[in-house]
Symmetry: C2
Subunit: 412 residues, 2 copies
């Protein structure tokens, strides 16, 4: 949850005060241990007096708080370190996927303070009905956030499809959505607690994009560039390059589910043929493993599949090996094209990583020109299935960290 | 040939004079018509006196010259416009490919002043011998440049393979090169006329990368983001995003030739199977068209193939249709992943575009999720087979434009 540096344009556009607020808050967010005012002055080049004034503003606005005093080690008053506050602004993350709805709240420190997942097959349900149910989840999240003293300042909604700048879902093939005006259908929902300059009330974005952002901020040890693959009924990818999400020329990048892996193979819902989704999507894997008729919720079915594979069940093992091979063919193409060295398996793939990793790596080592001297790492996502909603909520909080002046001047 | 803006760091690192030189030269390079000193002052915010002093330096260094005076339109002295000079520094572009060597010289205005292509199958030849022959071409280019009053300040060498930062060719599968230390083998070659701070004497780079850069600077109408595909014996891609080449996490992006299009298909020289190259590389197309045994040089064979296709020869038409389908499968994957809207067919593909375009577009429209509302354009490269050497020479010239102070302070 650390994008500490304010954009270079800010110093020109905003006032000096805005800039100083962002610089000091960014330092506090990025620090390994709570910095004192003196350390902040030394680290930023600002005067002690300026830092003190800025910190007062941040304390008053519940963006930071003083940490417990460090134990005395010598003479004089112990210095009070500063940390991000966990009782000020928070972000709301929402997700509509093929077989679940989710809502979560993330505070300024990046901690998840509320998380609800509602399992249901949403394909037979109209977009308006699905969004009405989601609004119900959002209302519960809001109430829970308020109970915890948090102020929701913005929401990000993840959908498994292609979204334009106005929040119109152009196409979500696995949901059967086409040209769904999400903001209009959600009008008035989610009613946020405070309006903040620089934080849109609602952003609609692709699920795989938000999941990749969630993973990027999931903690230390995350590389700056990686491919994040969300394996649900559909398969989406988020391409992170140098710490930023690559969205493509028109914002529609990452459709790895429709990369052809068997060009004359199975027909796909998108109208194409042999798309990765038809071989390595959740339904394809469960069908191959003989779990399609079991009518289990997807997460239960995935757990069951992992249990069967762990017990060397032949059908489950073969289903995962075949899906991993298909996934590996697509991943090999991506690595040949983009030269990424880390592949993160997210969503429903995360718990299946032990079985998907070997065939993916086998295809990569067969097919990637640089594989011999530039190994590729395949690892499970830290956030798993929750990543998109958490990433969405985190992106809201990130906007506050990048421009705290907006929050400090908010309208109730 | 216009990267006019000096990097943001320059104002901090260099002196104010260096910055002013770059800003004024950049304005002159980017202008639609020759700007006067007064127009330069108005456009840059510098004083008339500063602009005059900077222009004197640029004139003395043969970086700019005064254009013919504009016809008098009113009272007073006609203003003298300034244009880039064509008799100062120049870049040397070199290329080793599977079946040809090339050398070219590009002047500061972006014009190609020398161009030689030597056709020969270089697979049976050792790397040292191939580079010795290339040094011969370079010497001829240098002599020709000197005759024209040009000063060569740096060279860029294109190879169809993976190159590390030190110029070591890690792997060029179609040439059969592995771990070839090109700078050491070319030591003393090419001896350039002047050493210039900020311009390395020799840069070794991937052929597809330099070809894409050549195309980017080939003239007006080139979009800021595109996929450039060089179709030679091997197939490489340059991915240009927002006017910059995307090199990947480790510099080895763009290996579209090894994207699997028939995963269980033909074996490839790289050790993989079903790589695009084995279906749409030059040799695969010529073999399918029945031209493999003809033992023609590749450009002659391509011309012959185009003639046959134009005359509706069934084998030639089928060979191009099949290659276009394979290419389209790979391109569909790239567009799904990166959301690019322009595909440029370069190298040996350029003259075959009329026959490759329809099957490529057919696969794109079948397989790309956004194709229905976001059309993809497929067009031939402006530079064709010369692109990599021209792009390489242009990249040298680009370094002079970005930092003219290095040239002005050069050591003879």
């Amino acid at each position: 949850m650390t994008r500490p540096d304010a954009p270079p344009g800010a110093v020109r556009q905003g006032s000096l005060r805005e800039w100083n607020l962002a610089v000091v808050l960014g330092r506090i967010a990025a620090a390994d241990r709570p910095p004192s005012r003196a350390e902040l002055a030394a680290g930023t080049g600002l005067t002690r007096a300026t830092v003190s004034a800025v910190v007062e503003d941040l304390l008053a606005g519940r963006l930071v708080r003083e940490a417990e005093p460090t134990p005395r080690t010598g003479a004089g008053r112990p210095s009070r370190g500063l940390v991000l506050a966990a009782d000020g602004p928070a972000g709301l993350g929402l997700e509509v996927n093929v077989d679940y709805l989710a809502a979560c709240v993330v505070d300024l420190t990046g901690r998840v303070r509320h998380h609800t997942v509602h399992r249901a097959d949403l394909r037979p349900v109209s977009p308006a009905e699905a969004l009405a149910r989601l609004a119900g989840l959002a209302a519960r999240a809001r109430a829970d956030a308020a109970r915890q003293g948090l102020t929701l300042v913005g929401a990000a909604l993840a959908v498994p499809g292609l979204v334009d700048d106005a929040g119109l879902v152009r196409l979500a093939p696995n949901l059967g959505w086409r040209d769904v005006p999400v903001p209009a259908l959600l009008a008035g929902q989610p009613p946020l607690t405070a309006r903040v300059d620089g934080v849109p009330p609602l952003v609609v974005d692709n699920e795989a994009n938000l999941a990749a952002l969630g993973e990027l901020h999931a903690g230390p040890g995350v590389p700056a560039s990686f491919l994040h693959i969300s394996g649900e009924v559909g398969i989406g990818a988020g391409i992170v390059l140098d710490g930023s999400l690559f969205r493509g020329a028109r914002g529609w990048s990452g459709e790895i589910g429709h990369v052809p892996v068997r060009p004359e193979g199975r027909p796909c819902r998108c109208g194409g043929q042999g798309c990765l989704e038809t071989y390595a999507g959740q339904e394809a894997i469960l069908a191959a493993a003989g779990l399609a008729g079991a009518d289990l919720p997807a997460d239960t079915a995935t757990t069951r599949l992992a249990e069967l594979a762990a017990a060397d069940d032949p059908a489950a093992s073969r289903a995962l090996a075949d899906a991993g091979t298909a996934l590996g063919i697509a991943v090999a193409g991506v690595v040949n094209l983009l030269d990424l060295d880390t592949v993160v398996l997210g969503g429903g793939y995360a718990p299946l990583t032990p079985w998907l990793r070997p065939p993916v790596l086998a295809e990569v080592s067969r097919r990637v020109l640089t594989a011999a001297w530039s190994p590729v790492t395949v690892r499970p996502a830290a956030l798993g299935g929750a990543a998109a909603a958490v990433g969405g909520a985190g992106s809201v909080v990130g906007r506050i960290l990048a421009r705290p002046a907006g929050w400090l001047g908010r309208r109730p």
